[in-house]
């Protein structure tokens, strides 16, 4: 760092210059004294104003850098008429952005977004989570949008610096975000739903000023990495302005919902199927539905909940916090105490709302309402540049994106055209692991033949599936093989109604995987596919939502003439493995219809 001369000294220097020059004429000695004295004075002055410590300068530089970086991905969200306004944050180069549901709700399916550069971009709704107050939108017009780095919000701690960026009071006519600096006041906060305000779970509390218009905007840590989506304040009698308490939806919750939001659906939250109460510092089950998965996993009235999703449960709020960050279609680890026994298991959560309820919340009115709205939106869609990016469908915020995502999932494997040639009969056999007996499946167009040990049964290609699964028949594994055959050769769209649901975690598998639901005849099948190559990892078949699903895990994939084929199957009901089959190579019949 170069030394900085204090302004006062500089002024003194310039003033003194002339008088010194005058003084110098013919009087060299006093001049010398004066010069020495003066230079010493200047030196002393310079010293007495020390430079800020390098640490301070460094932290200031870092702060400036963080703000500069973070404001780029912060957007203002407006209606297509330029009215209204909230905030949002871009999370990918192709323009996906997160905001609050309550921000996008008044704009319907189309909005305009302003970047800090002053540019405006057209955007369309992708998916909404009305319960959790999140919405995903997509901006169009660039393939290199500046986007935020998402931080792990579980590392956030109270006392840490943070800042909000956004468009409070819709002040910024030049679209440059307003930055409000503060600290994290609390973490893992639970906020009850109140009036029109939605439930906030496991959220981050900050004293950075959050005002109307900040909604949907980002909360960053001191590095400028995204830690939350600002959305709610503790407003009481003081009106709708900052009172020193703002809440942000954690990025961990946003991450868990992101895949679901990308599916274009109206995403739902989860329920455990039991209620808890606090009893002498213990959290105990006060009521439980006998139809819930938790009940099937042995949980009963009065049992103590110890851990959920690997987090200790010390209060009812903590349980609600954990549950609230998960979308439905999730499976969570549960540890509970029953009498003296500690039990670890996995439970499947159930949807918090019925499809009708969810549609109603999303619309703010009964299901029929969107139809009435149509005349209004028709003239607008004529010259709407994004009219081909929106598709209305019940249960969806924008069905267009469901097709996009399903296409993505199906395109991952790259061998779809090879599989489509294997529509003939299949024969597949193997050995039950740890046993002598064999297992085989023969699939023709009309029948499914299953051999398990000495027992051989023949199932109809479409009927009788329900009872096989309900009775937990070991032969039902052949149904999963049939579903996999159809998925590979026909593709889900020809099997029945197929909906991409989002990303989720599987039991004992840490990575997020894609989840697609296919309604195939009498049953609903859930396909869990790998995010890298789209191979099917798990097929779940549900005959009745109140009973355990058939789970067939496809493992040990090996190449078989350019096709990736699993070489082991693991069959599970509930959490119990029924059997594992080590498979021989799959045999394709040369001609369709004939059998072997």
């Amino acid at each position: 760092m170069t030394s900085i001369i204090h302004p006062r000294v500089r002024l003194l220097l310039s003033l003194a210059k002339d008088s010194i020059a005058l003084y110098c004429a013919g009087r060299w000695f006093p001049t010398l004294v004066a010069i020495i004295a003066f230079s010493q004075l200047a030196f002393a002055e310079t010293l007495s104003i020390p430079e800020p410590s390098p640490a301070v300068l460094e932290s200031q530089t870092q702060r400036i850098r963080a703000i500069a970086k973070a404001t780029q991905s912060t957007i203002g969200v407006f209606g297509v008429d330029g009215q209204g306004g909230g905030s949002g944050v871009i999370i990918s180069a192709d323009g996906y952005a997160l905001t609050n549901f309550h921000v996008t709700e008044p704009f319907g399916n189309r909005m305009r977004c302003g970047l800090s550069t002053g540019e405006m971009f057209e955007a369309v709704i992708v998916g909404i989570d009305p319960t959790g107050d999140l919405a995903l939108i997509k901006l169009y017009g660039s393939d290199s949008f500046p986007f935020a780095t998402i931080a792990d919000s579980n590392t956030v701690q109270a006392g840490q610096w943070c800042f909000a960026a956004g468009n409070p009071f819709v002040l910024a006519t030049n679209l440059k975000p307003t930055v409000t600096w503060g600290i994290v006041s609390g973490v893992h906060r639970y906020q009850y739903p109140s009036g029109t305000i939605l439930e906030y779970t496991d959220c981050i509390q900050t004293d950075a000023a959050i005002n109307p218009g900040n909604s949907g905007g980002p909360l960053y840590n001191s590095h400028g990495d995204l830690i939350g989506i600002n959305g709610r304040c503790s407003f009481e009698k003081r009106g709708r302005v900052n009172v020193g308490v703002g809440y942000a939806i954690s990025t961990n919750q946003a991450q868990l919902f992101l895949g679901h939001l990308k599916s274009g659906r109206i995403v739902d939250h989860a329920t455990l199927g039991f209620t808890v109460g606090s009893e002498n510092g213990r959290v105990v089950v006060t009521n439980i539905l006998e139809t819930s998965d938790a009940y099937r996993r042995g949980l009963r009235y009065g049992d103590e909940i110890l851990r959920l999703d690997q987090r200790d449960i010390t209060s009812v709020n903590q349980l609600k916090n954990i549950l609230g960050i998960y979308p439905t279609y999730s499976r969570l680890r549960l540890r509970y105490r029953q009498e003296q026994q500690t039990i670890d298991t996995w439970i499947r959560v159930a949807p918090l709302h019925s499809a009708e309820e969810l549609q109603e919340i999303a619309n703010g009115k009964p299901e029929e309402a969107p139809v009435e709205e149509e005349p209004d939106s028709t003239p607008q869609t004529i010259d709407d540049p994004l009219s081909d990016r929106f598709e209305k469908r019940n249960g969806f915020a924008n069905y267009y994106f469901n097709r996009v995502e399903l296409d993505r999932v199906l395109g991952l494997s790259g061998d779809a055209s090879l599989w489509s040639k294997q529509t003939g009969d299949w024969h597949w056999s193997g050995k039950l692991r740890g046993e002598q007996s064999g297992w085989s499946v023969q699939l023709t167009k009309a029948t499914i033949e299953s051999t398990f040990g000495d027992e051989n049964i023949r199932l109809d290609a479409t009927r009788g599936w329900e009872s096989a699964i309900e009775s937990k028949s070991l032969h039902s594994s052949s149904l999963a093989v049939r579903l996999w055959q159809l998925w590979q050769t026909l593709g889900p769209r020809k099997m029945g109604e197929s909906i991409y649901l989002g990303t989720t975690k599987m039991v004992d598998f840490d990575e997020m995987v894609d989840l697609t639901k296919v309604t195939a005849g009498e049953v609903e099948a859930y396909f869990y596919t790998a995010p890298d190559d789209g191979r099917v990892l798990l097929i779940e078949v549900e005959a009745d939502s109140q009973l355990d699903r058939l789970e067939v895990y496809l493992d040990d994939y090996q190449k078989q003439a350019d096709l990736k084929v699993p070489r082991s199957l693991r069959v599970v009901f509930g959490t119990e493995t029924q059997f594992i089959v080590d498979l021989d190579p799959l045999v394709f019949a040369v001609q369709a219809g004939g059998g072997l």
């Binding site: 410590s53 109270a158 600290i183 906060r189 906020q191 509390q205 003081r238 010390t314 209060s315």
Partner: protein
Amino acid sequence: VNDWIKPWFIFVFVCLACESGTLASDTALEKSPAKIAAVQAASDPLVVLANRLQSKLVKIYGAGGPKGLESYQSGFLVSDAGHVVTSWSTVLDVNAIRVVTHDGRKDDAEIVGMDPETEIAVIKMTRGDSSFFSLQDIDEPIVGNRVLGLSNLFGIATGDEAMSIQRGVIMAISPLSARRGRLKTLYQGRVLVLDVMTNNPGATGGAVVNLEGDLVGMLGKELRDDQSNIWLNYAVPADVVSSSVRRILEGKTNSPVRSQQLKIAQRPHRLPNLGIILIPDVLPKTPAYVDQIVPKSIAERSGLMANDLVLLLNDIRIESRRSLEESLATIDVADSFTLLVQRGQELVRLDVRP
């Protein structure tokens, strides 16, 4: 600014040390961004301070509920015997005050005493804790000092959840009486005016600390200027808290509970004879609010007025209508006594002469 540099310096140093891997503990950790972020957050001096102070704070629950009156507030420990300093408010108008410590443990507390002039109350839990704020050697705060406010504002935290932390600056140190008549408060002494929205529902009784974690003040009540609609965020300075607490503990403010030994007078004062009509006794602790004053009565002559709230009788705390009646019964009808009443936002001392 100086007190700000120090923790920052430490913070940045630790961050740099973490990055360069000079900290021994870092080598054992995986270098994932999440881990690094966690290490950085954990070494942030404010995070360390926020964690350290939690064990000195308590959540207080009592009376209230309807009509926007909160039934909760904040407090902090000031002794290893379980003494808690909090704000004297209607929340404390219950027989058993519920106190929840940082670890979620519940305890019942009794009122040790209160100081009407500072609106500070000391309550005592049944058990003590080694973690508390020292009220000795209090540094004089300076305008411009950085402070943290710690409270359970809005009742956000319950059970073992951490109380909220906010950061701000002391904007001014000024007597509150400058605003007398416009802001509703009994306390009219020196206050620390803060630039952060600390004084929210439930925040009163919370701690204001400096960056070393020493007590600087106690968060006051919610105050709004009726004309400008501006809410004031302020704290009672720690030295005022300290001397108030000392006086309460020494029994110099008023006796917390009316002594049972006091004899009932032969011919005692009674409310009707004095011309005082209080609001009906409907609660376990109905406040001694004057509903009406009988014209030309002793009470009227003494200057008592309708809507006065009786706080002290001969320096004995009046916590309810019943305790006023009981205290009056110990005074002979011929004797004078003094009353301290709250009238609007002022404290008025009255001599009642028969």
